[in-house]
Structures are given as structure tokens and as C-alpha cells.
Symmetry: none
Subunit: 268 residues, 3 copies
């Protein structure tokens, strides 16, 4: 092993420990070596997206990948580092459930409970009472919820239109619950919801949602162009370069579109 | 907690117990609460698709999601409620294997065995002998199987053409086995196969199969327009709104297409 | 840009052109840069697995990821380089269909047709006639097919037992078609089928199939220990480090198990 190789290996182990809050495993094979050398020492260290922001890309990816050990380790690291609060983590699970389905979210949810208890136990603390669900911040009256959902749909998606109420998916699902309730819950910031959403639509590889959520994240200025580029690279590390290519291509197109719109708006 | 909120929480637990045949878990976090309040008290209770029909959308979704606990619980609930017979369940596993790949189906198959034994044990009954595989109802002769497969391909897909035999995927696979054998097996009705198939192509998000199977389910009148709309909402709950958007958009297009064809046929 | 960075960028573009048989795109963002620098200049160039072998890991990954452009480009590159014959490619589609579901395979199959025609057209050649499907090499009689499937199940999986016939999934599916027909088709070698299968079970992340197919690939000596390690790294590049961690952990366990068995066998 050359001096450079040895230095890279040391740097990889240091980077892993910094992100994960526990020591890197011994890494005899090429996959572990690449994980330390490329994913931890390179991707996680890049300046374009903060370590905290990268958590909100990593968590949905490891939850979707059904990778039990990485899910457990990244939930632990996000909470143990203090980068993500337990309230934010629980909202991330709910947001993930909506974009990736309840079944996968159920494991994520159980893992959060386990790791939260583990952290309290390691610190000799009692597990705090969870935040009470009620009262909800969104209206109960069905008509009011739909009106609220329609406004949130426009605001979040940066579009002037709303889908029809009179369709179970877009009415009872999208307007009534996803935008009429879920996106409006306090406890997770808009930027963080954007990061989670783009990661989710990217691994779900649903063409129109990728387009619309990349667009809205950029257009709203919640995620900058450089941050979005970093999101694509981070996603490539956690969900592979094949899906990341699709995401990256769409990011290129949406950057052009948003720039065009901003130019038009500025000239009016 | 207001009276209305308390009523909704009670309703969610009641709905869960009704669908799942066992009591709802205590629900401290936002994900569990939303599961009870939205998925069980709202989606499952909607009139457009029967509880039994919803099983055939839910089962492939939880099997595909690699969600161990939800898969176990939904297999148990479908059998324990009497909504789905063991013969139907086992055919659902085979149909799922073909449309989602054998690896994921292997866990589904093991889970069915386990839960079926558990139910018999809870009832103090012996596990009945399984149905024998042989004789198959489809022809053994390769040429006859292909002819049978070609006819079934036309009938199931509501199209006048067949794919080429001289291609391993479409010949050895699609004509010889998928349509020459699997779709023709007794033990699972055509409507149920439609529901399972549309759910599978929706999470696989393969554009042409979504188009063709939504079209055929509607065109054949095996699934009504309203039922298909409900299927999209139910799918959104179990596989997330990202993929459901793609499905729902395609449903919109295929309803138009089928209506046009029915109008043309009526005027001839 | 330092001299080292410039050298790495040139090397990345050279490596891309070598693998893909066409020039690398301009790479303005971090994801494209990492693709050239890490995936092409590093992973594809590693000695432990041949370029041809890496095709059989890449193809199922890009097909599963629904990544339209990467799928098209990798099908083209595999055929255009001469690394993979059209017969092998078509068998890969069928094998992929079985292990990942027919819906995703339908796009793969269409892409193979398109790219094969494109290559012939670029070369000014007519598209050759496809291989005829019939006669099949496997028996037609249902009982004979099951016996053949049972033997192939034992041989491929390196186990002494077979699953029950009297279950639609394991009887009509696994024994009758997957092992009684598909694995026995000529036109794709056993090592290549192992590579495709391990990639498929890894992105499907079905725990027992990962275990059993990694074990059988190693135990049969169709894939060496070092090749399997490289497969995990290549898979990490194309399907992300989250799922690759699960695969890699299982590889570690199955290497131990196979070594133990070989030691026991040697001492008898």
C-alpha cells in the first residue's frame, strides 16, 4: 500500500466516523473500500450540500432500499449526531410513507422507535413523551380541508391549477390528505420536505413527479441549483448511477425552464 | 382533544380491526396515526371497491414493498376474514411472481404457508392437504401451448395481434408460460387477476404494461371505471403517491380511449 | 484544475468511450463527473471481473432502474462492442423477466430490438432472422418437465432437496417453468446466468434468494470469490450502496459457509 493509498484509507475511516457517529467497520473487500473512499471521504464531504441536508436524502434512500443495517445505522447517526431532531425524523417517516407507501414506511417507523430508545438508553435518559398528535393544524371540515389542500397544492408545486376533487386519487388522496394535511404539518421544514420528496420520486422513478418536484424545489428557491446538483450525486451514491442519470437529466431540463421563467418574470 | 378528533381516532381503530381482524396497535407517532385515520378509516371504507377487491390490490403492494410485518398481517387478515380462500391466495402468489419476479414472491409464498398454518392452529384444525398440481388444464404439446398462449394473449389483452414466437422473452416466456399457462390456471377469477396485475405493473412502473393492462381491464369490463379510480387511490396509499400519479394519469387516458372505442362500436 | 484532475478527467472520458463504444457526453455537473471518474475510470477498469462479465451485472441493473437512456446505451454498447451476442442478450432479457417481473422486461426487450436494428443499420447490414423458438430442449410431458425441473433445481441451487410440486408458486412456477425450462435453455452460459441472477436478487432485496443464489454461485465455482466481491462493487455503482451493503454482507457470510463445506468435503 502506497502512502497515498494509506492516507485515503485513513481519511475514509475518519469521514465514516464523523458522519455515522461510530467507528468504520474493518473493510477488506472492494465494496467496503469504495464505500469509505468514495461515498464517505468524497461525496459526504462535498461543500454544496450540508451534512444535515444530506441526511434527508440518505434516509429515504436507505428506507426504500430495504437495507436493514444501513437504515438502522443512518437513523441512529442522524439522531445521535443531533443533525435531525426526533420530531423531524418522525415527520420524515410520514412524508416517506406518503411518497413511497405505508408498507416500507412501517419498517422505517419501527427503526426510528428502536434507535431513539437505544440513544436514550446509551445516554442513561428516559425516552421523552412523544409530541401529541392532536390538535391538528389543518381544518376538520371536509370542504375547508379541500380548500386548504388546493391552496397548498398550488403553493408547493408552484403551479396555478389544481387537480379535480372528483377523483378518488386526486380528491380524497392528493387534495384531502397529501396537501390538505401532510405537507402542512409543522415539525419539518419546507427545504427538508423538498429533499425527501425529490429522493423519493427519484427512486420511485415516476417520470412526471420527478419533473414536477424538481421544478418546484428549484422554482420556489427552497433548493438552490448547486444543492440540487449535489442531491443528484448523493442520490447516485445511495441509489445507483442508473436512476441518478434519469434524475440528473431532468434536473438539467428543469434548471433551463426555471431560468427561462425567471428571465421572463424579470423582464416584465 | 375535541369530540370530533376523538371520534375520528375511535373510528380509525374500529376500521383497522374490521379490515385486519385484530386490534389496532397503540399509535403514538404521526405515521401510525395517519395510517389509522387516512388509510383505514377513509380509503378502505370507500364504497367504490369492495373490501375483498381491495385485498387483491393490497397484497401485491405489501409483498413488493418487502415489508415483512405488513405482508404477514395482510396475508393473515385476508385469509382469516374469509375474504380470500387459500387457493386464491396461492394463485395470487404465482401471479405476483410472474409480474414482480420470483425472488420477492418467495417470501410471499413462505408467509402464506406460515399464516395459513397459524390460522388453522388458532382454530384447532389440521392444515388441509394442498391442491395437487397435476393434471394441468393447459396443453402439453409445445405447438398447442403456443396456440393456446396466442389466443389467451389476444383475449386477456383485448388486442387482435400476438407477439413473435421467435424471441425468448415473448415466445418462451410470454406466449408459452405467462399466457399459455399461468393466466389460464383456475382458482383465481379474471377480475382478481386484473386487480393484481394493475397493482404490479403500477409499482413496476413499466410504461407500456401500465397502458396495456389498464386498457384491457377497462375494455373487458372486468373492472369498472369507478373501480379503477378506487384502485388508483388504494394503490397510492400502499405504494405512495409518486407511482400512483403515473397510474392515475394513464387511467385517465385509457378511459377516454375505451369510451371512444365503445362509441365507435355502438355506431357501427 | 490541477494536472492530476485534468488527467483523471481525460482518463474518465477515455474509459467511458472504451466501455460504451461512443464518446462521453460533456459533463458539467458533479453527477456526470463522478460517473466518469468513479464508475468508468475506476470500477469498470478493475481487474477482478472482465468487461464482458460486468455487462451481465450492468444490464439487469439499468433495466430494473427504469433508466431509459442508460438502458438504451448499455444495450447498444454490449452488442456493438461484440462482448455480448444477440442470442445471449435475448436470453438475458428472458432471465431478467423471470427474476424481475415481465413488465420491466418488456421495455428491455423492446430496447434490444431497437438497438439491434440500429447497429445493423449503422453497419449497412440487414437484421438477421431470429433463432426459432421450437423445438424446445426440455420435455413436453408435464411429469417429465417436473422431474427435469427438480433435477435442475438441485443442480443450480447446489442443494439436495426440492420444493413441493403441489403449490402454484413452487410447482407450476419454479419447478415447471423456471428450472424445468428457463434455466436449461441454451444460448446463455451458466456463469452469465449466475451474474444476472445475483444482480436481480440484489436489487429485489429478497433475503433468502440473495443468500441462496450467492451461495450457489460460489459453491458451484461458476463465480470465484474475487469475482463475487467485484460484482458487489459493480452493483453498488449501478444500484447504490444501500442495497450493495446487504449483498456484500451476505457474500461475506456465504464465503465462510462455502469454505467450511469445502474443508469438510476435503477432509472426508
Amino acid at each position: 500500500m502506497t502512502a497515498i493509498d494509506s492516507e485515503r484509507a485513513t481519511e475514509g475511516r475518519r469521514a465514516f466516523a464523523d458522519v455515522m457517529t461510530f467507528p468504520a467497520p474493518e473493510a477488506p473487500g472492494p465494496t467496503d473500500a469504495a464505500l469509505l473512499d468514495f461515498v464517505f471521504a468524497e461525496v459526504w464531504q462535498r461543500p454544496g450540500l450540508s451534512r444535515r441536508d444530506r441526511r434527508f436524502v440518505t434516509l429515504p434512500c436507505v428506507a426504500a432500499a430495504d437495507a436493514e443495517a444501513p437504515l438502522r445505522d443512518h437513523v441512529y447517526a442522524a439522531l445521535n449526531s443531533g443533525d435531525v431532531t426526533i420530531t423531524e425524523m418522525r415527520e420524515t417517516v410520514l412524508h416517506f410513507a406518503v411518497y413511497s407507501g405505508w408498507p416500507k414506511a412501517s419498517r422505517f417507523n419501527m427503526t426510528v422507535d428502536e434507535q431513539w430508545e437505544r440513544i436514550q438508553s446509551e445516554r442513561g435518559q428516559a425516552v421523552p413523551e412523544p409530541d401529541p398528535l392532536l390538535p391538528l393544524v389543518t381544518p376538520s371540515d371536509p370542504e375547508d380541508r379541500l380548500l386548504t389542500g388546493e391552496q397548498a397544492f398550488r403553493d408547493v408545486n408552484c403551479v396555478p391549477y389544481v387537480p379535480t376533487r372528483d377523483n378518488p386519487y386526486s380528491g380524497a388522496g392528493i387534495l384531502n390528505f397529501v396537501f390538505g394535511e401532510m405537507w402542512l404539518r409543522p415539525g419539518l421544514g419546507m427545504k427538508e420536505r423538498r429533499l425527501v420528496t425529490v429522493a423519493c420520486v427519484a427512486f420511485q422513478d415516476a417520470p412526471y413527479p420527478i419533473l414536477s418536484h424538481v421544478y418546484a424545489a428549484l422554482k420556489s428557491r427552497d433548493v438552490s441549483f448547486d444543492e440540487m446538483d449535489e442531491l443528484a450525486l448523493h442520490f447516485a451514491a445511495y441509489y445507483g448511477c442508473a436512476k441518478a442519470t434519469t434524475l440528473n437529466d431532468e434536473i438539467g431540463r428543469q434548471k433551463e425552464r426555471v431560468l427561462d421563467e425567471w428571465r421572463t418574470e424579470a423582464s416584465q
